[in-house]
């Protein structure tokens, strides 16, 4: 008796109208958040997948369940009513399955390149410890969602290390990265040079920052520039070697691929130039910083933009710095070295995909893309398939959609972007949808018929 009463209250139309309006208001707020930050992720994290959202949709489910129970024992004329309302419940259930068991990632493959990793929206902090030069071991891994729960000075995130904690205490949702080579106070820091290489067709200006105890190499097409403090051993190719002498002068050596030997050497200062001897190229040293370091600053933005990334601030060993999403930083302890990464999680596929070709069809006389498609090679089945807009590839439970592509300044495509999806909730959602539409039509049709009967 009391159960029936509770059910009746929860099934009331008043409650239903209130919940429907609450959902409408909530999601409307979400679209405003999205417009304000120019970012769908912000709206998803803070509104659509927020706590309040779960609460209101939970009440909605309670209301729907109650109203179905309340009509028991069901009659034949309840078919439309029950179908529509159960359909919504099933649709909601399907959405939960998708959200918690599905994968919604993306995959970027360079033209001619291979990949087997999907990038998903979840982010991880990973620490590696170093054992000697290039051998690293994963030491700590932690799932973080700074986007919805950013670390603050009051509620920092700590990762304990032997020589003190790494403390994360600030987060920019959107920041522009600015990378500069600046003079360093540190005596042991390597040199930095800004150089220009030009002939009548090519003109390239680049920064080159040296490395501690090893040569720093910059490849510029058929030529290589090496900045080093150690004696250089020539192994072939067109090579320019730069060796800092003191705070003013750099010693240079030029090797020719054609002659397989050193063809020129001398000293150069900031502002002076010399001929390289290959392809009529001329070298000019624009700037020379004897002790330099890379200074990466993150400038906070209020809105998302294609250039902006999120970044987290941390302090370790008394040094405070910023770490951008999908980047890494080296940390130096008393005697040990760590690498800290913050990035989107990568999931491996059981097979590899290779981008063999990419075609863009354009509207006549314009650069507007009319259609595009990828030709990919599947390593496990040794076959090639075409993925195009609206024609996805289904393979091993995953579906690969042609999402977009990257192009160079000349408009030549350089990589394909596929969205990769695994959705165990799909058929549940489709079933729910079908029931909703069938139920609504049945419900209204029955009422219309009844009403017309009343006129007659």
């Amino acid at each position: 008796m009391t159960f029936r009463k509770i059910v009746r209250t929860l099934a009331s139309l008043k409650f239903a109208v209130a919940v429907i309006l609450a959902i409408a208001t909530l999601v409307a707020w979400g679209t405003i958040v999205e417009a304000q930050y120019m970012d769908a992720k912000m709206a998803q994290e803070t509104v659509y997948h927020g706590l309040l959202s779960y609460l209101i949709f939970g009440l909605f489910a309670v209301n729907l369940t109650s109203v179905i129970i309340d009509r028991y024992p069901w009659k034949q004329h309840h078919i439309g009513f029950i179908s529509a309302h159960i359909g919504i419940l099933i649709l909601l259930a399907g959405s939960l399955v998708t959200r918690y068991l599905g994968i919604d990632g993306s995959m970027t493959i360079d033209l001619g390149g291979k990949s087997k990793m999907i990038t998903v929206p979840e982010t991880d902090l990973v620490l590696y410890t170093s054992f000697g030069m290039d051998s690293f071991q994963k030491f700590h891994e932690q799932k973080v969602n700074f986007f919805s729960t950013p670390p603050t000075a009051k509620k920092p995130l700590k990762i304990p290390l032997a020589s003190g904690d790494v403390i994360f205490d600030d987060f920019y949702h959107y920041a522009l990265v600015d990378s500069k080579i600046v003079p360093s106070e540190e005596k042991t820091d390597p040199a930095g040079v800004r150089l220009q290489i030009s002939n009548d067709r090519v003109n390239q200006t680049q920064w080159l920052l040296g490395k501690k105890n090893q040569p720093s190499i910059l490849a510029l097409g058929p030529a290589t520039i090496v900045l080093t403090t150690q004696p250089y051993v020539y192994l072939g190719g067109n090579v320019l070697v730069l060796m800092p002498v003191d705070d003013d002068r750099i010693r240079y050596q030029v090797y020719s691929d054609r002659l397989q030997k050193k063809i020129n050497e001398g000293e150069v200062k900031a502002g002076s130039q010399f001929d390289l001897g290959w392809m009529n190229l001329q070298f000019r040293l624009l700037k020379y910083i004897p002790r330099a370091r890379q200074d990466i600053t993150y400038m906070k933005r209020e809105q998302a933009s294609p250039e902006a990334v999120s970044a987290v601030r941390f302090t370790y060993n008394g040094k405070t710095q910023w770490l951008g999403l999908n980047s890494m930083v080296r940390l130096f302890g008393a005697s040990e070295m760590y690498v800290l990464t913050y990035g989107n999680r990568q999931l491996p596929l059981s097979f590899e995909m290779e981008l063999k070709n990419f075609d863009v069809g354009r509207y006549q006389g314009t650069m507007r893309a009319a259609s595009y498609q990828s030709l990919v090679y599947l390593s496990d089945e040794d076959r090639e398939v075409v993925i195009s807009m609206n024609e996805p590839l289904q393979h091993k439970g995953f579906t690969f959609y042609q999402a977009s592509f990257q192009e160079d300044a000349m408009g030549k495509p350089t990589a394909t972007v596929l969205s990769v999806n695994y959705d165990p909730g799909r058929w549940i959602k489709y079933l729910g949808s079908l029931l909703i539409v069938f139920g609504a039509v049945h419900l209204f049709y029955r009422r219309w018929k009844k009403a017309r009967g009343a006129y007659a």
Binding site: E34, Y48, A440
Partner: protein, 544 residues
């Protein structure tokens, strides 16, 4: 009924005879390549003049007759010097005029004075740096962007950048511009312009002058078609597009719907049957023209005509008339026709009167939209639901008009209004639910995401929830007749938001194909007036 069918048949015969002609050449139908497709010079000229001047015809002074766009734009090529100092570049944005140091009340400016303004360069470089950072452009930036493209277009046309002939290189899909033509073909094109300009007299033009002009066009086409006959379009199709431009079926339909509204209004005032009959005839004619316009658009674009704001507004008006006819047939009540034609007229006027905001040009589609089946089903279903809600809005307005004039809210008469309104909402809810779900199916199929909380789909959902709340509130007796009628009017604001607001106000999300700017003051005025109307009617109900 039979007379109506006869009328229909007659109309199609007339249209068919005007649309299909033998291959005739004229400057207006000369194909040009622009905006990713081939279009007749007339369309190009109208679009360009509308961009530059805000209208598709040019009027040198208030008391002078208007000139066709083709004539105006061809003179930009022939005698650009004559235009440089003429104030015909329209700038609307007050802030931009101020920034350029111009008079705010002035509407038109000459290319010369814009280029002379020292601040124009500074403003442009500011816009460029914003573009490089890929930041969101505010209305001021959009106004600058528009002025930039206005100046760019004028410069292009006068420098001979109009793409007019297929390339001789069989692999090249980009056409040659006037400046790139070889000497012979250039000469032929200058003949075309020269002979065309001979037809520019305001008095009646002798037929031999027109014939000479058309003959030059034919000679030019014969020469350039030989460059690459495969890429050269069917001139008949160009002629059909010219016919679509000149015949303006949607404008004529708008007027006839308006006539029907007036007739119905008098019919209700004087209660005479012949007014209603005349209104049906007018509506029928308008509907035929409306449908004919659609048919032309489908033929010209080779896709269903629901891919931008302009097309959906036209389509919703069409759907409203279909639902009006259906509900009138079921209920046999006159006020339904009045309500339906009222809102259809409103929609058609909006579509026809704001070319700068609702882009009526024929545009190629974005890649993801190029799957016609899903596009048809998903967009057409949702916009049809808007049509049903729009009709409910019309019925609500007409019913409240009666209430204001003293009808009792709980009377039999108003009960009937509410019943029709309710039915219209039911149809809308079913269509919107189905359309939203089909949108999910399409998104799942194309993007692998059934639901992604994209603002456009989210607002469609909000509108659906709003109407569902209304229907449930009515079912539970939470609202009575007045609440139902007021609700049908107020809830339409959700549709306005989903339909217009997401693209023009929020400006975010994946459905960016239809994004635009402008018109917000008119839409806000519409929303405000409707709210005031409801409040006023509510006060009248209170008083009685």
């Amino acid at each position: 009924m039979r007379s109506r069918n006869l009328l229909l048949a007659l109309f199609f015969c007339v249209f068919a005879s005007t649309a299909v002609q033998a291959e005739e050449f004229s400057m207006e139908t000369l194909p040009v390549q622009n905006g990713g497709r081939l279009k007749p010079f007339d369309t190009y000229a109208r679009e360009t003049l509308t961009l530059m001047y805000g209208r598709s015809t040019y009027r040198p002074a208030e008391d002078k007759p208007a000139h066709d766009a083709s004539k105006i734009v061809s003179t930009w090529m022939m005698v650009p010097e004559a235009w440089v100092a003429k104030p015909f570049v329209r700038v609307d944005h007050f802030g931009l005029k101020k920034a350029l140091g111009f008079q705010e009340e002035q509407k038109f400016f000459s290319p010369e004075e814009i280029l002379k303004s020292t601040r124009f360069g500074v403003i442009l470089s500011e816009l460029n740096s914003k573009r490089q950072l890929k930041e969101k452009l505010n209305p001021f930036d959009q106004a600058v962007q528009k002025l930039e493209s206005q100046m760019g277009f004028f410069h292009e046309v006068r420098m001979g950048a109009l793409r007019i002939a297929p390339s001789k290189d069989p692999a090249a899909t980009t056409w040659l511009s006037v400046a790139e033509l070889d000497a012979t073909q250039k000469e032929l094109f200058f003949n075309v312009l020269k002979d065309y300009s001979a037809t520019f007299t305001l008095e009646s033009v002798p037929p031999e002058v027109v014939q000479k002009s058309n003959a030059s066009v034919a000679a030019f086409v014969a020469s350039i078609r030989a460059n690459n006959p495969v890429l050269y379009p069917d001139v008949k199709k160009m002629a059909t597009e010219l016919h679509y431009n000149q015949f303006a079926p949607f404008l004529k339909a708008a007027m006839l719907y308006g006539v029907a509204v007036l007739l119905m209004f008098f019919g209700l005032l004087f209660n005479r049957q012949y007014f209603a009959t005349a209104a049906w005839v007018s509506t029928g004619l308008a509907f035929v023209l409306h449908t004919y316009g659609f048919a032309l658009r489908v033929y010209l674009t080779e896709r269903p005509p629901v891919s931008n704001m302009f097309e959906t507004v036209i389509w919703v008006a069409w759907g409203t008339i279909v639902f009006t006819a259906w509900l009138s047939f079921v209920k046999k009540k006159k006020y339904i026709l009045l309500s339906g034609t009222l809102v259809a007229t409103l929609a058609m006027i909006v579509a026809n009167s704001a070319p700068a905001i609702l882009d009526s040009t024929l545009q190629p589609l974005e890649p993801v939209l190029r799957s016609n089946l899903w596009l048809i089903i998903h967009v057409m279903t949702i916009t049809l639901s808007y049509a049903a809600f729009f009709l409910a809005l019309g019925i609500g307005n007409v019913a409240l008009f009666h209430v204001i004039r003293g009808a009792k809210v709980q009377s039999q008469e108003i009960n009937d209004y509410v019943d029709t309104c309710y039915k219209s909402l039911q149809v809308g809810v079913v269509l919107l639910a189905a359309g939203t779900i089909l949108g999910g199916v399409w998104a799942d199929y194309s993007w692998g995401r059934f639901w992604g909380w994209d603002p456009k789909e989210t607002w469609a959902l909000i509108a659906l929830l709003g109407y569902l709340a209304l229907l449930h509130a009515r079912l539970g007796g939470l609202i009575k007749n007045f609440g139902m009628l007021a609700g049908a009017i107020i809830a339409f604001n959700l549709v306005v938001m989903a339909w217009y607001g997401v693209n023009f106000v929020l400006g975010a999300g994946l459905h960016t194909y239809g994004f635009g700017a402008g018109g917000i003051e008119y839409v806000a005025a519409f929303v405000g007036l409707q709210l005031l109307y409801v409040v006023y009617a509510g006060l009248m109900v209170r008083r009685s």
